[in-house]
């Protein structure tokens, strides 16, 4: 079983290019997972069109990249029988980008969206960079853009891609065929930013006292919940549960494992 993680800002053309790649790799047993924040139907469209197994993961109140990191091991466990798992992240934050050390990290990079130096690990840690929307600008500028990518990511394979025509899909597919199978422990390529303030526990009032208060209460609860994200409370994660308790939406008894 192989794993490929696609990251890229919204509207960069991730889904369109993935469709062409799935078409290219139709001989493989593929599982496609789409992470998003609010809603998505890409998983259904892909299932309909290509008949591959798909699912969506909506992160809701949790940071979508952290959520992806939480879910990836479960997805792998469930789909061991597949040849290839394609994970499409929500791609909102350039800081996290939950690429893992195995498989392939693919960044779909919209050439119109700004300078390569403005991107973090999303671009710098990618193994493959698909430059999209290049057909809208001149070749000279494409070449300049490419050299700017190389300044921040020397080892990435840069491929011109087009979500409308499928350009680049063959090259990415060839690269995917060459990656090794996933072994045991997956490690994030890049650690995620520290999330330790009251806002992480759902504080909304812009005030340092208020957010410290929220943080202390959040930390106290965090020490008492099992942190297994078992979902028995009805929330996706313990963090979401804690937020709901702090917002007084539910009682802490909702967690069957909470230490009194």
């Amino acid at each position: 079983m192989k794993i490929v993680i696609f990251g890229g800002t919204p509207g960069s053309g991730k889904t369109s290019i993935i469709k062409f790649i799935i078409q290219e790799l139709k001989d493989l047993k593929i599982h496609y997972v789409k992470f998003d924040v609010l809603s998505t139907d890409d998983d259904l469209l892909i299932k309909q069109k290509f008949g591959v197994s798909t699912e969506n993961k909506i992160s809701g109140e949790v940071c979508p990249d952290h959520y992806a990191a939480l879910e990836i091991p479960k997805i792998i466990e469930k789909h061991k029988d597949k040849d290839l798992i394609i994970i499409e992240t929500a791609g909102l934050c350039l800081r996290c980008s939950p690429y893992v050390n195995e498989g392939l990290a693919v960044n779909v990079l919209n050439i119109l969206a700004g300078k390569p130096s403005g991107y973090g690990p999303l671009l710098t840690d990618a193994d493959v960079i698909i430059v999209s929307k290049g057909d809208l600008i001149s070749q000279a500028e494409r070449e300049i853009f490419r050299s700017k990518i190389l300044e921040v990511n020397k080892n990435g394979l840069i491929i011109d891609g087009n979500g409308l025509t499928g350009e680049g899909a063959i090259d990415v597919s060839e690269r995917i065929k060459k990656i090794p199978e996933v072994k045991k422990t997956l490690t994030l390529k890049n650690s995620m930013p520290t999330a330790i303030c009251g806002y992480c526990y759902g504080n909304k009032i812009l005030d340092s006292k208020e957010t410290l208060n929220r943080y202390n209460r959040g930390k106290e609860l965090k020490a008492r919940v099992p942190n297994l994200n078992c979902g028995k409370c009805g929330f996706k994660s313990c963090n979401e549960f804690i937020r709901a308790v702090l917002d007084k939406k539910i009682n802490e008894d909702r967690c069957p494992y909470i230490k009194k």
């Binding site: 057909d135 600008i137 001149s138 070749q139 000279a140 070449e143 300049i144 490419r146």
Partner: protein
């Protein structure tokens, strides 16, 4: 890299039928038109050539350079990329001057040897671009405010003097605001091979031969007749004439005379 010829070995059309013409050879300095209806496979053919395909694309065509399969490095290293591409869209997004932009491109292409030499190339590019467009480009002009015609002219001159790619693909370039024939002549003068997707009779008839695309395959190759070339010349004259009038109107002049006699290109004014 010196390119003496390109060979296209036939692939399959959308109906999975083998293309009729097994082998097409194109020589240095030739201009090839690619014509056909929407969806007939024109862009795919350009794509195959740009990729220097060797059986891995949808059509399974093979493109040979100087009779041989292209080296892999030609496909991956952009600084020695042998294919130049002029597309329908030539917008710019970098907020910088024409001069700085060309300088960056020269450095990217690994052509920056000395300050003076780079300056000379930049001036040459702007000078040649100005011969193609009627609207003068100045070196300090911001890229983002260039008109469509100015952008196209600048990119043609850039292809000729900075990229110097020996093979040029042109995808339905608009001729508004530029003397397209002079632009192509500039490129051909430098010994390039040009592939031109177009619906414009002036351009399609001004080629050495044209591929007629159908169902995703090359269905026919028509060698341009002398008569057709003459007609193309006439159209080109009309195009330049319109461009002149356009500039006159911009200058605030009145247009009170209709020129009817076809004067050969280059002798007017």
């Amino acid at each position: 890299m010196k390119i003496k010829n390109i060979t296209i070995l036939s692939g399959y059309n959308k109906k999975k039928e083998k293309e009729i013409i097994e082998k097409i050879e194109i020589l240095e300095g030739q201009k090839i038109g690619i014509v056909g209806h929407t969806g007939s496979g024109k862009s795919q053919l350009l794509y195959d050539i740009e990729k220097l395909a060797y059986g891995e694309t949808k059509t399974k065509r093979k493109i040979l350079i100087n009779g041989k399969k292209a080296d892999k490095i030609l496909k991956t290293d952009p600084s020695i990329k042998i294919i130049g591409y002029l597309t329908q869209h030539m917008n710019f997004m970098t907020d910088t001057s024409v001069y700085e932009f060309l300088k960056t491109h020269i450095i990217t292409r690994g052509k920056h040897k000395s300050k003076e030499e780079t300056k000379k190339i930049i001036e040459k590019v702007i000078d040649e671009a100005n011969k193609i467009t009627g609207e003068e480009i100045k070196k300090e002009t911001n890229l983002l405010i260039l008109s469509g015609g100015q952008s196209r002219a600048l990119m043609v001159a850039d292809l000729a003097y900075v990229s110097e790619s020996p093979i040029i693909l042109i995808d339905e370039i608009e001729n508004a605001g530029i003397k397209i024939k002079q632009a192509l002549t500039l490129l051909i003068k430098k010994g390039k091979i040009i592939f031109l997707v177009t619906h414009d009779p002036m351009l399609a008839l001004d080629t050495d031969k044209r591929f007629v695309m159908k169902n995703g395959g090359i269905n026919n190759v028509i060698h341009t007749s002398i008569r057709e070339k003459g007609i193309a010349n006439y159209f080109s004259w009309i195009n330049d004439y319109i461009l002149d009038i356009r500039e006159n109107i911009r200058d605030g002049k009145k247009v009170d005379e209709l020129r009817l006699i076809c004067t050969p290109v280059g002798e007017k004014k």
